[in-house]
Every structure is written in structure tokens, then in C-alpha cells.
């Protein structure tokens, strides 16, 4: 059953890859969508089955499916197996569901593209890899999926390969991801070394790495523990992997560039699914992170910083997809903030709701771009609500949801995160309060830039006509609403964005606003996931944990964040509806300053170094074309090594002899005991 979920998209990918070239668009679309649909239906069925499974000793419901023993070398064995538990259950539901909707949308969006079959082959392959990542029952399987989604992401970002920036963006994504993967690989290796296996679940004769970790004592909160090779080190390494895949500081640079890919790709891979793999991984390994308060604190700080930095950058973007990209980075920061505060469930809930509204927003932007004939600059839009009614309404819902408008999905998840950070038992001192304030500020900024995006795109003057005058090559006909294959997914996602939050209403709030009889439903998400996460112990010196039980304070916090969101939306609307373009620079001057400061501090020095120090110093002709700055750095050493390679046999002979001298000398003088 689980293998059906996983392998259905692979079958689709293989069929499309082998025969796609000879098939018509219609058949390709049917194959691509139906393979994902099969997977979706199987996922729902499996989830339903999971609900009726008897919980194991530790209270977690699990369905385990082992296909075969993948590696068996001595005492070490790894199964090729899948694991369905509440965590992966929730994950596959929205991965397959949202994935299916996006596939449907893409059949309309990619209509007429010359590489139609290639696109869907890659998309199906991506679904396969993502499901392997989620359902794999050990670190190695997860790593397979991890690498696989990276590869597919690379192929899909570079889909429009004739445009140079697409190829560059693809390379950048791949390379940055590899840096993260390297951390993950080392982390997994350490896990293997420490626990003797890399499994997620206990098997017949093996206590899994995670259960072993769960039984270990909490490591102290000190700097030196980071390099001690214990759980904190493992957690830090895993987190490096997560920063790569989930675009966190400092490895977030690839995600905005990744928007070079087709919009459905951005929606599926770079908003809803792949980028949340980092959060999933941390939630999956919460047994390790829970024992490493220092690692958790790092996660929280990085998350909060990413959230606020990306949100401010988002304010200054003109490309509609770039706004959404930075928004994604910022929201991912929220999720990491939650995980870092020990609220894995809240972070994971935000993963789900975010998948709904961010996929919605991306697809909506795709619909806009489609309507505008691949124009992405918001300065050449405006007043589109007249033409794109459905798109406008659905996107407005998405915007309200992400901004935290009361009772929409984003409201509940974000609110829960903020409160959990405020009352976190693991963050040292009153760091929780500080991060809570940052989170609140980010929420305000989020509401502002999202409102700005909506206002500039859909309301006000119709600037695209002017633009087409000056451009000349632009078409004259009106923007048109997209076909139903594209709008129906929008509507479905909008619906989910509205109601998605009701399964996870925070307890304090639920008491006030929901009839008592419905409490089972409104908090079911947390109840369902709760057994997966192990109990956290309070870090010594923590000042915020005591708040956790104070429902009154929680309500105040909720009220506060609601207020912030509403005011921010209002401010955004007031400001941008008057002066969508002209006032921009003035209002955002400070924000721009942040943006450029950020550029100046991080991006430019890197570029400058790679260009002037590494690139100009080296022979451009020789190293030209190596992948990026890092490769250039290595290339510099490379030339040193190549100096030996003068092409003369006699020089080689000399090196042979010198090598022999060294080896013999070593053996004779140092070798003997």
C-alpha cells in the first residue's frame, strides 16, 4: 500500500521519460496527473488505515512496510522500507494532495510548451523522490529522497535552459544544496557511529537510533558541547542540511533565484513541499534535537533571523514571484523558529497551512503571469481584478491567510507558533520573549508586503497598457482569466486555506470560540501528532517556560498578534492603494537600506571575492566555467597541482622516485615499532 503511494509517480515518470516524446499533450497530462492521483488516493486510504491501527508501546501509531533488505553488511543492515506514522501521514496527505492540484494546474500552464513531456517526467520523478524522503523508514532512505528532490529541483529550475539565468540558477541551487547535504551526510554518519544503525523505527533485533536517542540524557547547554561529537553535534549537522534544503540563513540565497523555473515548479517544489523537508527532518529527529538545547536555540535564532530578514527583503521586490519567494523563506523561518522553541507540532502545523496558502499564492501568481503573457514585474500590472476575478478572490484569501487574518488557517498556525515561542521551555533566559517580538514584527511586515503585492497587482490604475505602449512588442489584447484547469485548483486551495486551520486551533482560543462538543476536532491535529514528539525538559535558566499554562496570557498574545495583523493590512492598503508606485521608494527607503546592507554585507563581498580575488587572480581561461565561487577557490589549488603535470615523462619519473624515496624513508625510519 505504501509502495503504491511511492511508486505510482515513478511509473509515470518512467513512462513519460521513455515514450513521452511520441505522445500528445493530452495523453501526457492524463498519465502525469493520474499517476499522482493514484498516489493521492492511496495516501488517503493509508491515512485512514493508520487511524485504526493500534498504537505501539510508545503511543505512536505506525504502519511499517519493508520491501527488502537494502544493505546487509555484517551487523549493519538497512531496509528498503517505508514508515507511515502521524508525522509522515500528515505530510503525504498534503504532498500528494497539493501535488495533484499543482499537476492539474500545470497541464494548463505549460500548455504548448515544447518540452511538455520532459516537464511532467521531471515533476513525477520529483513526487517519487519527495515521497521516498517522507516515507523512508531510515536516514539512508531519507537521504536518497533528499538527494533526489535536489536533483529534480535542479532539473526543473533549469527547465528553460535556453535562458542563461535559468541554468545559472539551477547550478546555484544544486551547489548550495550540496553544501547542506554534506552536513546531513556527516550527521547521518555520526548517528550510525553512535547508535549502530540509522533506522527510525525499532525492528525485530534492533533498537532504532531515534529510540536510543530518546533515552539519552539531555546534553548541557554550553558552547563546547557543539563539537563534542554527541547529540548536539549531530543535531547541528542535521540542521546544516536543513538550512540548505529549506533556504535558511546563510544558505537561503538559492531560493529566490530558483524562481527562474516554471511557476508550477515554484509552487510545488519551492513553496509547498521540498523546502519544507528541512522542517520535516527536524520534526522527525525531534528525539535528537530535544536532547540538544543548544542546537534548538541555534535553530530558533536562525529561524527568527531568516524570517525577519527575508520579510524585509520581500518588501522591496517588484517581481511578483520574488515577493513570494522571499515570503516563503520568511515563513520557513517561522517554522524553524517554532521547532527551535521546542514546538515541533506548531511548526509542522505551519508547514501544512503554509503549503495550502503558499501553493495558492504561487499558482495565483502563475495565473497572473499566464494572463500577462509572462510578465512578472508588478510595475507593469495593476487593476487586474477586473479581468481576473477568480484569481483575485482566491489570492486575496491566500494573502489574508498568510497575513494572519483571524480565523483563516495562517492565523491559527502562526498564532500558535508565536505563543509557543513566547512560552518556550527550552530557550535560555528570556530569549523566548525577544524572539517572540521579532516574530510579531515579522508578522506585521508580512502583512504589509503581501497587501502591497495584492494592491499593486490587482488594484489601482491599469499600468500594463502604458507598458505595452513603450515596449511595442507587447500584445494589444486584454488580459484574460485562465482556463478552468487552472482556476479550479485555485479554488480548492483557497477553500483549504480557509478551513485548513480548524483542525489545529490553539487550546486557549478554542475554549473561547468553539463549542465544547467540537473540541475533539479543533485540536485534533495536535492530539494526533503529540505521541510522535518526545517530552521536552526545561533548560536551566529558562524564564519563559512558566507562562505555558497561563491561558490568559495566551489570549492576550493572540489578541496582540491579531491586532498587529489587522493594522498592518490596513496600513499596507492605505499606503499602497494611494501610491502604488511613486511612494514606493520613499516609504521603503529604510527597507531598501536593509536590503542593500544585506547585499553589501553578504552577497557583494562574496561576489567581489569570487570575482576579483579568485577569478581575476586565476587564469580566467582555464577556470572559466567551473561552477561557482567555491569551485573557483578549489580550482585555484587545482592549478598548483597541475604544475607537476608539465607533460614530460622525465618529470613524472622524478616524481615517481621522490615518492618512492618518501615511502621507503617513512617505512624505514618511522614505520617500525
Amino acid at each position: 500500500m505504501l509502495s503504491v503511494i511511492v511508486f505510482a509517480p515513478l511509473v509515470g515518470a518512467i513512462v513519460l521519460g521513455l515514450f513521452g516524446r511520441r505522445l500528445t499533450e493530452k495523453i501526457i497530462a492524463v498519465i502525469a496527473c493520474s499517476s499522482v492521483l493514484v498516489s493521492t488516493l492511496a495516501a488517503f486510504y493509508a491515512f485512514w488505515r493508520l487511524l485504526s491501527v493500534k498504537p505501539a508501546e510508545d503511543g505512536v501509531r505506525r504502519i511499517n512496510e519493508t520491501l527488502f533488505t537494502w544493505i546487509a553488511a555484517g551487523s549493519f543492515s538497512v531496509d528498503f522500507g517505508f514508515l507511515l506514522d502521524p508525522l509522515s501521514g500528515v505530510m503525504i496527505l498534503f504532498v500528494t494532495g497539493v501535488g495533484f492540484l499543482i499537476h492539474v494546474f500545470a497541464t494548463g500552464y505549460m500548455h504548448g510548451d515544447s518540452g511538455f513531456y520532459r516537464f511532467f517526467a521531471y515533476m513525477n520523478l520529483f513526487m517519487f523522490m519527495m515521497l521516498v524522503l517522507v516515507l523512508g523508514d531510515n536516514f539512508l532512505m531519507m537521504f536518497v529522497g533528499w538527494e533526489g528532490v535536489g536533483l529534480c529541483s535542479y532539473l526543473l529550475i533549469g527547465y528553460y535552459f535556453l535562458e542563461k539565468f535559468a541554468g545559472d540558477a539551477a547550478k546555484k541551487a544544486f551547489v548550495v544544496n550540496r553544501i547542506g547535504d554534506f552536513g546531513l551526510a556527516l550527521g547521518v554518519m555520526l548517528i550510525f557511529l553512535k547508535f549502530g544503525n540509522v533506522s527510525f523505527v525499532d525492528k525485530a533485533n534492533m533498537v532504532s537510533a531515534l529510540s536510543q536517542a530518546a533515552k539519552m540524557p539531555v546534553e548541557p547547554f554550553s558552547g563546547s558541547i557543539l563539537f563534542a561529537g554527541g547529540l548536539t553535534t549531530i543535531a547541528a549537522l542535521l540542521f546544516i542540511g536543513a538550512t540548505g534544503k529549506s533556504a535558511q540563513i546563510p544558505l537561503f540565497v538559492w531560493l529566490p533565484d530558483a524562481m527562474a523555473g516554471p511557476t508550477p515548479v515554484s509552487a510545488l517544489i519551492h513553496a509547498a513541499t521540498m523546502v519544507t523537508a528541512g522542517v520535516y527532518m527536524i520534526a522527525r529527529t525531534n528525539a535528537i534535537f530535544a536532547k540538544a538545547p543548544l542546537a534548538l536555540t541555534i535553530v530558533a535564532i536562525v529561524g527568527a533571523l531568516t524570517a525577519v530578514v527575508a520579510a524585509t527583503i520581500g518588501l522591496a521586490q517588484w517581481d511578483i514571484k520574488k515577493v513570494l519567494a522571499y515570503s516563503t523563506v520568511s515563513q520557513l523561518g517561522y517554522m524553524f523558529l517554532a521547532c527551535g522553541a521546542g514546538a515541533f507540532a506548531a511548526g509542522f502545523f505551519h508547514v501544512v497551512t503554509h503549503a495550502f496558502f503558499k501553493a495558492l499564492l504561487f499558482l495565483g501568481s502563475g495565473s497572473v503571469i499566464h494572463a500577462m503573457h509572462h510578465e512578472q514585474d508588478m510595475r507593469r500590472m495593476g487593476g487586474l481584478q477586473k479581468y481576473l476575478k477568480t484569481t483575485f478572490i482566491t489570492m486575496a484569501i491566500g494573502t489574508l491567510a498568510i497575513s494572519g487574518f483571524p480565523l483563516l488557517s495562517g492565523f491559527f498556525s502562526k498564532d500558535e507558533i508565536l505563543w509557543k515561542v513566547r512560552s518556550s521551555p527550552v530557550l535560555p533566559g528570556s530569549l523566548g520573549t525577544l524572539l517572540w517580538l521579532i516574530g510579531l514584527a515579522t508578522a506585521a511586515v508580512t502583512a504589509i508586503y503581501m497587501t502591497r503585492m495584492m494592491v499593486v497587482t490587482f488594484l489601482g490604475e491599469e499600468r500594463f497598457r502604458k507598458a505595452s505602449d513603450t515596449h511595442g512588442e507587447h500584445h494589444e489584447h486584454e488580459p484574460h482569466e485562465s482556463p478552468p484547469v487552472m482556476t479550479v485548483p485555485l479554488v480548492v486551495l483557497a477553500f483549504l486555506s480557509v478551513v485548513g486551520g480548524f483542525v489545529g486551533i490553539p487550546e486557549a482560543l478554542a475554549e473561547k470560540i468553539v463549542p465544547h462538543s467540537l473540541h475533539g476536532v479543533t485540536h485534533s491535529f495536535y492530539h494526533f501528532l503529540d505521541p510522535v514528539f518526545i517530552k521536552l525538559s526545561t533548560t536551566p535558566g529558562n524564564l519563559t517556560g512558566a507562562l505555558a499554562a497561563d491561558h490568559g496570557a495566551e489570549l492576550v498574545s493572540t489578541l496582540l498578534s491579531t491586532l498587529v495583523a489587522l493594522i498592518a493590512i490596513g496600513v499596507g492598503y492605505a499606503v499602497f492603494s494611494k501610491q502604488p508606485l511613486l511612494t514606493m521608494p520613499k516609504i521603503l527607503e529604510n527597507k531598501y537600506y536593509v536590503d542593500e546592507l544585506y547585499d553589501a554585507v553578504i552577497v557583494n563581498p562574496v561576489k567581489w571575492t569570487s570575482k576579483w580575488i579568485l577569478w581575476k587572480v586565476m587564469d580566467v581561461g582555464i577556470v572559466d566555467g567551473t561552477v561557482n565561487g567555491l569551485a573557483r577557490l578549489l580550482g585555484w589549488f587545482s592549478i598548483g597541482i597541475r604544475e607537476f603535470q608539465v607533460g614530460f615523462t622525465r618529470a613524472y619519473a622524478i616524481f615517481l622516485l621522490i615518492g618512492a624515496l618518501t615511502v621507503v624513508g617513512y617505512f624505514l625510519y618511522f614505520g617500525r615499532l
Binding site: 544493505i71 553488511a73 536533483l151 535552459f161 550510525f192 578549489l634 619519473a653 618518501t662 624505514l668
Partner: protein, 504 residues
């Protein structure tokens, strides 16, 4: 005189044990005779070659079960030892030899080079490699190595009119012979130190610390000197840094299919002999720290090899040269397994590497065109447009070389790194992981150029020759088989471990 007669009486002629070699030698001679005939027919010679390899494979397979029950078969007064170790390597050599024949056919035909001689040289080389893997005596290692080397010298220079091919052969010959001299010197000194040239005898002498001939303690300096010299010789043959400098030049200049053969089979054979001597004879705990001496020095060599191979590969423009550096790096990874004393890991690694590499070189033979004139990476530009199948095949093989999960390359690396990590070679493993992460950059370049670079002007390429097609398909199937379900093979090798231990 009496002692001599006694020695001769233990003569055990067992042709069954060496059937694979006999079959290959006979079919090599048969191909040669066909080649001499007037107007030789290609197809016939290919058939003889293929049948020869298949029969040799069958003969090897038939030895598997007897060996399983007996543990090992010794024949010709311990000159050959047939155990699972040697059989496993026999399979590697046979597969690679067969695939080499398949990918060579088209280029020989296109360039009108003599076919019979080429095939027979490949087959003789495989015989030599088998002798190396099954050697129970230093002289067999030496003879096997020379048979394999001399035929590869000739193969490297097979394109007589091509300056690059000439040059490649000469460089290989000069440096290779010098390395052989070192190896031989090492053998001589070890023979002097232990009083025996049989591997078993050397091992016993080292463990008991008694020179077999003089019954005095083993002379340590002599032993160390010999081991060091042999280490140099073998390191050269597996192209480890700093003895690797010949590799890029020779690989670039030789005909692509010969490069494929050298990069896979020759390397595997050198590793087989390396394992036989160092892991089998120079065991830990004896010989005044001989084991720690060779492992520590090889650890350094492995680290240097991985770093230099991978970094130098970063800036290559020639595909074959890049793969040459990559093969140096891969030798480094295999050495990591060697220092961990784990022959299964090394053998498995070599299998995965060989299977993948032969496919990649097969594609190069095809893409480079007549005379290997288009081997620059830039020559691949736009391949993704006009030949999606070939470029996807290349993509898969390169990903496997880079060690992406689900491919053979990943599994091989994983096994080796795990073995070394468990034995405590942490630095080497970390370097290996870091460098294999780096390696992705250069494997990425051909992919980028294939898929994201403008079409070159002339997309005209001949249809894919059947031999290359078969090779590539087999290689990709093997890549996935070994990457996804290596379980059965591991199981077989687990069992083999027992027999190898028994043989000690």
C-alpha cells in the same frame, strides 16, 4: 637432491582450477588466427571473443560451488589459489573484458585497425589479470602483472599513426616498467627476508618471525624495505598520488575503449594483487609493526589521492582527462577500503566503479567519433537536444560516479567508508566524504553542458553501434541493480568472507 625430489612430488596439476584462463587463452589464440586469415570477418571474431568470455564466465561460475564447500582450491604447488576472492575478481575481469570487446568493435572497424590482434591482446590481458587475482606466489603476481601490462602497453599505442596514442603508450611503458622494477625489487627483498616467495610462506614467516630457509628471525629492515618497494609498485599500478602522474596523459592519449579497460580492469587487477599481498600477508600484530607502517603510509597516500584527484579534475576541459582524474580519485576511495583490511568492501567498490565507468567510456567512444577527436567536454554541447537517450544515460552514469544515492557509486562508497570508519580511519573517511561532495562539481559540468548549453553547429552523429548500446544498457542496469538491491551480492560476499578467513 633428495629435498628437491620431495618438492617435486607435491606437484598437483589441476586443470579444472585454471579453466577460465585456459579458455580465454585458447580463444585469444583462435581470434588471432582468424585475424591473420585473409579478409577476416568482424562478426566472426567478435563472436569468438564473446563466446570465449562467456565460456570463461561459465567456467568461473562452475568453480563457485566447489570453492564454497572446500574453502579454496590450490593448484600447481600453491601457484594459484582459487577462492571466492579470486572468483569474484574473475567475474569483474570477465565482465569488463567482454564489455571492452563490445565497445571496441565499432572504433576498430571505423578506423580500419586490425581486429584480431586487438581482441587477443585484451583476452591475454584478462588472463594475466586473473593470474594476479588468483596468485599464490610472488612470481605469479609478477608474471600476471607483466602479461596484463605488456598487452595494455600495446593496446594504448594501438593507433599507430596517432601521435597522441604513441605518446601515451611510450609514457605508460617507460613509467610502468620502472614501477614494475620497483615492485620486483620489493619482491626480491621480501623473498630474502622471509625465505619464501609463496604468499602463504611469507605470511607464516612473518607471523612466526622465522625465515623459512634459514630458520632465523625475519630480518626486519629487509622486510620493511621490500614492503615499501612493493607499496610503491602497486601504488603506481592503481595510480595513487604521488605515483599518479602518468594516468591523465596515458588515459587521454589511448583509444577510448582501451582507456576504459585500463581504468577499470587494470586497476581492479592491481588492487587484487595489492590485497593479496598486503592484506593477506602483512597482517596486523606481527612483523614489528609492518601492518601499521603500511596502513598509515597508505592512509596518507589515500588522502592525497582523493584530494589531488578530485581537485585536479575540477578544471579539466577534456572529458577523458577529467575521467582520468576521477579514476585517480576513485583509486583513493578504494585505498580507503584497503587500509581498513576489508577486501569485500574494496572488491565491491571496484565492481561498482568498473561497471559505471565502462559504460561512461563506452559512450565516450561513441561520442568522440573516429579517432577520438571530440573528447572535449564542450563537444557535448546540446547533446540533450539531439540525443536525449544518450545524454540521460551519461547523466545516470556520471551521477553514479559522483555517488548519488540509488546508484552503484553511492553504495560502493558507502560500504567502503563504513568499513574504514569502523576501523577508526576517521580522517580518511572525512576527507573522502568532503572530496566526494566536491566531486559533484566536475561531474556536474558535462551535465550542464549537455542540457543547458546551446546546440553546436553540427549535430550529425552516426547511429549508436550495437556493441556500445548493449554495454551502456548493461552498465546502467548494473548501476541500478548494485545501487538499489545489492543485498544478494553482499550476502554472497559475507559467505566469501568466511572462506577467506579459513584460508588464512
Amino acid at each position: 637432491m633428495m629435498t628437491l625430489l620431495l618438492q617435486t612430488s607435491v606437484l598437483d596439476i589441476n586443470y579444472v582450477a585454471i579453466w577460465p584462463m585456459i579458455i580465454l587463452s585458447i580463444s585469444g589464440i583462435a581470434v588471432l588466427l582468424f585475424g591473420i586469415a585473409k579478409d577476416p570477418v568482424h562478426r566472426d571474431m567478435s563472436m569468438i571473443g564473446i563466446v570465449g568470455f562467456v565460456l570463461a564466465g561459465v567456467a568461473t561460475g562452475r568453480l563457485w560451488l566447489p570453492v564454497k564447500t572446500v574453502g579454496q582450491i590450490r593448484a600447481f604447488s600453491n601457484m594459484v589459489i582459487i577462492d571466492h576472492f579470486s572468483l569474484y575478481f574473475f567475474f569483474i575481469f570477465i565482465i569488463i573484458g567482454l564489455l571492452t570487446l563490445l565497445i571496441s568493435a565499432s572504433f576498430l572497424e571505423a578506423e580500419r585497425l586490425p581486429v584480431g590482434e586487438f581482441y587477443s591482446l585484451v583476452m591475454f590481458a584478462v588472463v594475466g589479470m586473473m593470474l594476479m587475482a588468483a596468485a599464490g606466489h610472488l612470481v605469479m603476481i609478477f608474471l600476471g602483472l607483466e602479461i596484463a601490462s605488456i598487452s595494455t602497453y600495446a593496446l594504448a599505442g594501438y593507433r599507430r599513426n596517432d601521435l597522441r596514442s604513441n605518446e601515451s603508450a611510450i609514457k605508460y611503458f617507460v613509467l610502468g616498467s620502472a614501477a614494475t622494477a620497483f615492485l620486483l625489487y620489493g619482491m626480491a627483498l621480501i623473498y630474502g627476508a622471509t625465505g619464501s616467495a609463496e604468499l602463504e610462506g611469507i605470511r607464516t614467516a612473518i607471523i612466526d618471525n622465522v625465515n623459512a630457509a634459514t630458520k632465523q628471525p625475519v630480518h626486519t629492515e629487509l622486510l620493511f624495505l621490500g614492503a615499501a618497494m612493493m607499496l610503491v609498485g602497486f601504488s603506481f599500478k592503481v595510480s595513487a598520488v604521488p605515483f599518479h602522474l602518468w594516468t591523465p596523459d596515458v588515459y587521454e592519449g589511448a583509444p577510448s575503449s582501451v582507456t576504459a579497460f585500463m581504468a577499470t580492469a587494470s586497476k581492479a587487477a592491481a588492487f587484487a594483487a595489492f590485497l593479496r599481498v598486503f592484506v593477506f600477508c602483512f597482517v596486523p600484530g606481527y612483523g614489528q609493526g609492518l601492518h601499521s607502517a603500511w596502513t598509515t603510509s597508505l592512509e596518507t597516500i589515500a588522502i592525497l589521492t582523493m584530494i589531488a584527484g578530485n581537485i585536479a579534475a575540477l578544471t579539466q576541459h577534456n572529458f577523458k582527462r577529467m575521467l582520468a582524474y576521477s579514476s585517480i580519485a576513485h583509486a583513493g576511495y578504494a585505498l580507503v577500503g584497503l587500509i581498513a583490511d576489508d577486501w569485500q568492501a574494496v572488491a565491491f567498490y571496484l565492481l561498482t566503479y568498473s561497471i559505471t565507468n565502462i559504460g561512461a567510456f563506452g559512450l565516450i567512444t561513441y561520442l568522440a567519433g573516429r579517432g577520438d577527436r571530440e573528447t572535449e567536454i564542450d563537444d557535448l554541447a546540446g547533446l540533450g537536444f539531439n540525443n536525449l537517450g544518450v545524454s540521460i544515460a551519461m547523466l545516470i552514469l556520471l551521477l553514479s560516479l559522483a555517488g548519488i544515492p540509488l546508484t552503484a557509486g553511492f553504495m560502493g562508497k558507502f560500504i567502503v567508508f563504513k568499513a574504514a570508519w569502523q576501523k577508526g580511519f576517521h580522517v580518511a573517511v572525512i576527507v573522502a566524504v568532503v572530496t566526494s561532495a566536491v566531486s559533484v562539481y566536475y561531474y556536474l559540468r558535462p551535465m550542464v553542458i549537455m542540457f543547458f548549453r546551446e546546440l553546436k553547429v553540427e549535430p550529425k552523429r552516426l547511429p549508436l553501434p550495437t556493441g556500445v548500446l548493449v554495454t551502456v544498457v548493461l552498465s546502467i542496469l548494473g548501476t541500478f541493480y548494485l545501487g538499489v538491491m545489492p543485498g544478494r551480492l553482499f550476502q554472497a560476499m559475507e559467505n566469501a568472507k568466511v572462506s577467506f578467513v579459513q584460508s588464512r
